[in-house]
Symmetry: C2
C-alpha cells in the first residue's frame, strides 16, 4: 500500500491553521437575523407569565418566541427512549439555563436588549441537583411519568452473585464518584436556520447531520428530502454535538421571524446545553486468595439532568463497562438513569466508560493491595483472552489484551507499582463496545480530468476523517492523495451516514468509502479493458492511469472516450449496512485502550505530577499513524482533564464555574513529562485494511491509573474525582491522622 | 404506466408563478460586489490607452479590470474550433459592445459612475458588418489566422452534381437571406463569481453548468473538482446560455477584487453577448418534369460575428440541413462561417435549421409552382422513407415522414395551396439531426422515509425537465410524483451532464435517469426479496411499498431494516454514454417538425394574418403530452417571431434596435387563430419509453411555410426575412408593376 499507513498530511490543515476555514459562526445567510435565548435563572419553577410586549416593540426586533408559541408542530424532542425535551420551556423550567424565550433581531445588541426587556414571572419550586437528592423520599419529581425521578434502569445478571460472594475468600465494597464534565469543544453550539418553499435549511456545528435532519423532519413534519443540513468546518464535538441541540429551536425562531436566524452561543451557554453524566458507582467484588474474581455486584447511578437525551443508552452501556475486561463468573449490575434539575447529560467520548472504569479499575488495585499482589499480576490472572465472551452471552473479545498489557508494561519498565524513589505506578484498562451503528453510504466520483470527488457524511471534527477517507480513496483508485477532494456535507446531496461518533467513522464509513472507491475502480478497469481490448486482469492501475501490454491511458482520457468525447463521470457507490456485523447483537468491534502512569505526589501540597504516561490502543491497522497517535494522546489529555481539574459545580441550582476562567481544562503544562502512544496493529478490525475504532479508548484508563499510582505511592485511596491538590492533601492528612 | 404519458403538473410551477423562485440575479453572496462592463462603442478599433485612475480612486470601487490585467491565466476562450475570444478586449475591439473594462464596486450606482470615469482612447479601424462586406476584396481582416474572414468552411458532396443538373428538365436558382435574431430569454445573462481556498464558485444563469465548469477550469488552470457551478432558477436560454458567456470575465473580476462579484446584464447587453447566425443561402436545384429532384448545389454563408463560438459547428450542421428530408442523388454543398465586426453568433434553438429550411422549403414551392404541382405532391414524390439514408452515408431516417405529412394535411383540410377565398397555404419540413451529445450521468436516492431524491445535471430552463425527470423516477420506482424531489444543480455534487440543449435532455439524460431509477428499483426488489424471503420475481412494487405473498412493507421500512435500523439510503446510478448510439457517426435521433399554415395577406398594408397553423412533431413517446404541446407551440411562436418581426439591425457598426421597444417579439395577439400541435408517437426514439427530442423541430418550418402560403395566395415570392408588412407590400407592388 502506498498511501494507507503513511503520515499523509491533513487535507484540511492549511485552511485551519491560516484561519481561513469557515465555521458555522462565520457563515452569512442573506437576510439573516441574530438570535438569542433568554435562559431560566431557576433550576425548577412554574412559568406564571412572560411579558414580551416591550421586547416585541423594540425597533430591530423581528420575532420573540416563547413556549406557548410552539404550535403547529410537535414541540418535543427525544433522542433516547424518552421524548421529554421541549424545544424551549413551555410552562415550567426544569433546569437553570433552560431557554424560556428566544429573540431574533437585526443584530446581537438589539437581540440582547430585547432579552433584557422580557419579564418572566416564575414560581420557584424545590429542585434536585444531586443523585441523592433526586432519589430521596419525597423528593420533587421532574417528570410525571418517571417514578422517583428514575428515567431508566436496566440490569445485567450472570450466574449467581450470592453464591459467588459465598465462594470468595474476601470481598471489597467501595463507592466511587465521577463528576459532571463539560466537553469544551473549541467551538460552542452555533446554528443558522431558514425556511422557504424548498423546506427547512440548517447550517450547524453538529456531528450528526443526518440525525439533525431526521429530528427536524419529525418535529416539523416534513419528508427527509425537504430538510437540508449543511455542516461547515466544526471546531470539536466529543459528543456534545451528537444530534439536535439548539437546532430545532433556531428553526422555530426562524419560522416565527420569517427570515433566516443565526444563533451563536458562548461557553456559558454551551455548558447549559449538554455535559457528561456524573456517576456514583457502588461496587462489591469477591475474590479468592490467589486473586481470582468470583463475583461482582454493582449499582451505577447516572445523573442525567433534566431530560433523557441519550441517558438511557449511556445507562445501558454501563452494565458491561463496569465489568472491565475481566472473567467474572457471577455478576449482578443494576444501572439507574436519574433525572435532576441540571443540564441534560448526553453523549461524551466513551459514553459511560470513564465513570465505570474509574470504579472498576480503582477497585482492582484495592484488591491487589489487599492481596499484596502486583496489580499487573492480578489483572493477568483475570484478564479475558481473545475470543472469550465479554458480555454474559456472545460478544467475543477481538483483541489480545495480554499482548497490549505486556507492551505497556515494557514501555513503562514496570517492576512493580512503586518506583525506587517513592513514586507510584498505576495501570488501567478501557475495554468497551463503542456500539458503532451500521449505516453509512458514500459515493466516489471520478471526473473527466481524472480528479476524484468523495461524498461522505462523516463530519470532520478535527479527528482527521477527511484525511483518512481521502487516503482510502487515493489508495483504492491508485491516484495521488492531492487529487482527491472531500466535499463539505450538505444532506441535500451527501449520501446518508448515521453519525460521526461511537468511534465508527474509519471503520463503518471507511468501509462504505472503500466499497465506493472499489466500485469506481472496477469501472475504471472495465473501461481500460474495453480500451485496450484486454481482459480485466491484464489491466494495471497506477498513478491515475491504466496500462496493459506496455500501453498507457489516463483515467480522464478513458472517461472522456467512454462518454463519446463529451466529458463524463464514473460514480462508485458503497454501503456499510447490517451485513457488516457478524450478528446483530454482537458489537462491531471492541475498543481497547490501556493506560499506565508513573506519578509522584507532593506531600506538602497534594499536587500530583505525571512523570510518565503510556497509552496503548488496539487500532487494528493505523491508516495514518500520526493521526492515530494524535487521537490517542488527545483522549489521554482529555482524561487528564477530568482526572485533575474538571467538574461542573452546582451551587443553589446554578452552575458556578461557567467560564473558562473557572472551569479548568488541561493545557500544555499538563503534558506528562514522558508521553507515549503505542499503536497495536493486529489487523483485527472490521474496517478497511483491518482498522477499528480508537478515538475513545485512551480517555478511559487515565483517572484510575493515576489514582492507583497515587495510592501505591502514598497509601491514600481517593474515590472521588477530580484529584485536586486539596482532595489529595486531605486524603494524605487523613492517613497521617488515622 | 401510471405517470408517464400523463399531464403531470409542473413540479416547479408554484414557485415560479408565485414569484418566489430565486434566479441568479436574486442571489446574494456574502461580501458580494456589483460588477459592470464598459463596452466598446466602435465595431473595430485599436485600443490606444485606457485611463482608469479616476475610476480606481472612487470611494466604493474595489476593482477595475482591463485587458492588460488578464495575466496569470489563459485569457482566451473558444468553444468551437477556434480559441479566438479573449475574456475582454485586450488591445483591440472587434465588435461594438465588446467589454473593454470591468468594474466591481459596492453598488451598481458606484460601478456605473466608475465606468463613466474610465477614458478609453480608440483608433478606429474600418469594420465589416455584412457577409458581403467581409468577403469583399481588400476587406479589413478580423483575425490574422482567418484568410478572407473565413472562420471555417466545409463541404458535402454526393454523386455528380453537374451530371445531376444535366439530367434535369429544369433548374431553379435562388438566394435566400435570414436575419440576425436575438434569443430574448426573459432573464438576460447574470453571473456571480467568487474565489477562495476551495477554488472558484460561479452561480449563473446558464444551460451548460458542466461546460462552464470545464471552461473556467481550463482558463484558470484548476482541476474540474475545484470549480463549482451552481444554477439557480433560469428564465429561458434557447441556446444563448450554452457554454460560458460572461462567466469567465466575472471570475476574473472577482479574482481581481478579491471578493465575490455579481454582474447582471439587461436586454441591450444581452444583445451584445450572443445571437443567431444570419445567413445567405444560394441554392440551385435541378428536377424532372414529374418533380423528381436530380441535383442540388448550395452555398451557405453564415455571419458568425467577431468570434467563432459554436459557429463552426453550426456551419457543419448546415451541410445536411440545407438538403431537407428529400432524396437527392447529386449534391454539392459548401458552407462558410464568416467573421464580421458584430456580436458573436452561437447556438440558437435548432442550429442552422431555420436558416437552411428557409431556403430549401421555400424553393420546393418555387419548383412546385413552376411545375404546377401541388406542393404536397412534390414533397411526397421526393420524401425520404423511414430507414433511407438522409446524409450521403449512413444515418438512416428514424421516422415516417409520410404519416406526419398526412396528419398535417388532414388537420389542415388540405385541398390545394390556395383556399377558396384567396388565402394561401404553405407547408414545410424541419428534419434535422440535433446532434445530441451522449454523456449524461445521474443518481437516484431513496431515503429512509421513502422520499426520493434525483440528482440530474439537466437545467430546468422552462422546458419542463424537472417535471419529466420526476415522472421517469416516479414511474420506475412506483412512487407518487410528489415524493420525488429534483435537486438544484451544484456541480460539486450533481453528477456530470454534457449540456442542456440539442433536444437531448429527455432522450439522453432521461435515459441516465431511467437507468439510475432502475438501479435503485433493483436494490429495492433485492431488499424486499430478502425481507420476504421470496424470489425477486415474486416481489411487486407499488405506491412506495413492496409486497409478496399478501404481505407489504414500505420502502422506508425496508431501508431502515437493511441499515440496522439506523436510517439509510439506496443510491441508483445511471449513465448515458457512447454505447447508446448505434454507431458514433450516426445521429442518436432525427428531430422531425412539420408545419403547415393557412394565411391571408392584406393587399393594402402587406400585413399577413395566420389563420391556421398546424405543427406536427415526431416525439416517439410524449412523456408529458401538455408539456410536449407547449414545447412545440413555443417553438412555432418563436418561429413566428423571426418570420414576421425579428432582426437585429446594424447601422454604422451599431445595433440600433437594442431594446424590447425596438426589437419586436411575438406576443399573444400573434397566436394563430387556429393553432394545433400534433404529437406523433411511434415509440421510435432511443430515449426512455421510446421518446426522442422535440423542442426544436417546430421552429424550423414556420418561415418557409408562411412565405409559401403568401406566394400561393399572392404570387409574391419573398426570399428575405422577416416578412414585415413593408416588405410584403413592396413585393406585391413589384408584381403589380411587373
Amino acid at each position: 500500500m502506498k498511501i494507507i499507513g503513511t503520515a499523509a498530511p491533513r487535507v484540511d490543515g492549511v485552511e485551519k491553521v491560516t484561519g481561513r476555514a469557515k465555521y458555522t459562526g462565520d457563515m452569512i445567510v442573506p437576510g439573516m437575523l441574530e438570535g438569542k435565548f433568554l435562559r431560566s435563572p431557576y433550576a425548577h419553577a412554574r412559568i406564571v407569565n412572560i411579558e414580551t410586549s416591550a421586547a416585541q416593540a423594540m425597533p430591530g426586533v423581528v420575532a420573540v418566541l416563547i413556549g406557548k408559541d410552539l404550535t403547529g408542530f410537535d414541540p418535543y424532542i427525544g433522542r433516547g427512549k424518552r421524548k421529554d425535551r421541549p424545544l424551549m420551556a413551555i410552562d415550567r423550567v426544569v433546569y437553570a439555563g433552560e431557554p424560556v424565550a428566544a429573540v431574533a433581531a437585526v443584530d446581537n445588541r438589539t437581540a440582547q436588549a430585547a432579552l433584557d426587556a422580557i419579564i418572566v414571572e416564575y414560581e420557584e419550586r424545590p429542585a434536585v441537583i444531586s443523585i441523592a437528592e433526586a432519589l430521596a423520599d419525597g423528593a420533587p419529581q421532574l417528570h410525571s411519568f418517571a417514578q422517583k425521578n428514575i428515567c431508566f434502569q436496566d440490569e445485567l445478571i450472570k450466574g449467581d452473585v450470592q453464591a459467588g460472594f459465598a465462594a470468595a475468600d474476601d470481598i471489597v465494597e467501595d463507592t466511587f464518584e465521577f463528576p459532571m464534565v463539560y466537553h469544551y469543544s473549541m467551538e460552542p453550539h452555533t446554528s443558522i436556520a431558514k425556511e422557504d418553499d424548498q423546506g427547512i435549511t440548517v447550517w450547524s456545528s453538529n456531528s450528526h447531520p443526518f440525525g439533525v435532519r431526521k429530528e427536524i423532519a419529525e418535529i416539523f413534519d416534513l419528508p427527509l428530502s425537504r430538510v437540508r443540513v449543511l455542516i461547515p468546518f466544526v471546531g470539536g464535538a466529543y459528543g456534545s454535538k451528537s444530534g439536535s441541540k439548539i437546532e430545532p429551536l433556531v428553526v422555530a425562531l426562524a419560522r416565527r421571524a420569517g427570515r433566516p436566524v443565526r444563533v451563536r452561543t458562548g461557553v456559558a451557554e454551551a455548558m447549559m446545553t449538554v455535559r457528561r453524566h456524573s456517576a456514583i458507582c457502588k461496587v462489591k467484588t469477591g475474590f479468592k486468595k490467589d486473586g481470582t474474581l468470583t463475583a461482582k455486584e454493582a449499582e451505577v447511578f447516572l445523573n442525567t439532568g433534566a431530560f433523557a437525551e441519550t441517558g438511557p443508552i449511556v445507562t445501558g452501556r454501563t452494565l458491561t463497562r463496569i465489568l472491565g475486561p475481566y472473567r467474572i463468573p457471577n455478576i449482578k449490575v443494576t444501572s439507574y438513569c436519574i433525572y435532576t434539575n441540571t443540564v441534560s447529560a448526553a453523549s461524551f467520548r466513551s459514553i459511560g466508560g470513564p465513570q465505570t472504569a474509574w470504579a472498576t479499575e480503582s477497585q482492582m488495585d484495592i484488591i491487589a493491595a489487599k492481596l499484596g499482589m502486583d496489580p499487573l499480576a492480578l489483572r493477568r490472572k483475570n484478564l479475558l483472552r481473545k475470543g472469550e465472551e465479554l458480555k454474559p452471552k456472545g460478544n467475543p473479545l477481538d483483541a489480545d489484551l495480554f499482548k497490549g498489557l505486556d507492551e505497556v508494561a515494557k514501555a513503562m519498565e514496570w517492576d512493580g507499582p512503586t518506583t525506587h524513589d517513592g513514586g507510584g505506578r498505576g495501570v488501567a484498562f478501557g475495554v468497551t463496545d463503542p456500539g458503532a451503528p451500521l449505516a453509512s453510504t458514500s459515493t466516489v466520483h471520478v471526473l473527466a480530468d481524472g480528479s476524484v470527488v468523495l461524498l461522505t457524511g462523516t463530519v470532520e471534527l478535527g479527528q482527521g476523517s477527511k484525511t483518512v477517507m481521502s487516503q482510502i480513496v487515493a489508495e483504492e483508485l491508485s491516484v495521488p492523495l492531492q487529487r482527491v477532494t472531500v466535499r463539505a456535507i450538505d444532506t441535500d446531496f451527501t449520501p446518508f451516514d448515521r453519525s460521526t461518533g461511537s468511534s465508527r467513522s474509519t471503520t463503518v464509513m471507511g468501509k462504505a468509502v472503500l466499497l465506493a472507491a472499489r466500485d469506481a475502480r472496477r469501472q475504471l478497469v472495465e473501461l481500460a479493458a474495453e480500451h485496450f481490448e484486454a481482459p480485466p486482469d491484464a489491466i494495471t492501475l497506477n498513478n491515475g492511469g491504466a496500462s496493459a501490454g506496455g500501453k498507457e491511458i489516463t483515467y480522464g482520457e478513458m472517461i472522456h472516450r467512454h462518454f463519446a468525447m463529451q466529458g463524463g463521470e464514473l460514480i462508485g457507490t458503497g454501503y456499510a449496512h447490517s451485513g457488516m456485523a457478524p450478528t446483530p447483537s454482537n458489537p462491531l468491534f471492541w475498543e481497547i485502550g490501556i493506560g499506565a502512569v508513573e506519578a509522584r505526589v507532593d506531600r506538602e501540597t497534594g499536587e500530583i505530577s505525571v512523570e510518565k504516561y503510556i497509552s496503548a490502543a488496539d487500532v487494528g491497522k493505523a491508516l495514518n499513524p500520526p493521526q492515530c497517535e494524535g487521537q490517542d494522546e488527545g483522549a489521554v489529555m482529555m482524561g487528564i482533564g477530568h482526572t485533575f481539574y474538571e467538574s461542573v459545580v452546582y451551587e443553589g441550582g446554578q452552575i458556578v464555574n461557567d467560564s473558562m476562567l473557572e472551569y479548568q481544562v488541561p493545557n500544555f503544562k499538563d503534558l506528562p513529562a514522558r508521553f507515549e502512544a503505542i499503536l497495536i496493529e493486529d489487523g483485527n478490525g472490521p474496517g478497511p485494511y483491518g482498522a477499528k475504532g480508537m478515538g475513545e479508548g485512551g480517555i478511559i484508563p487515565v483517572a484510575p491509573a493515576v489514582a492507583n499510582a497515587v495510592a501505591w505511592s502514598t497509601g491514600a485511596r481517593i474515590k472521588e474525582l477530580p484529584l485536586t491538590p486539596e482532595r489529595v492533601w486531605s486524603a494524605l492528612r487523613k492517613i497521617h491522622q488515622g
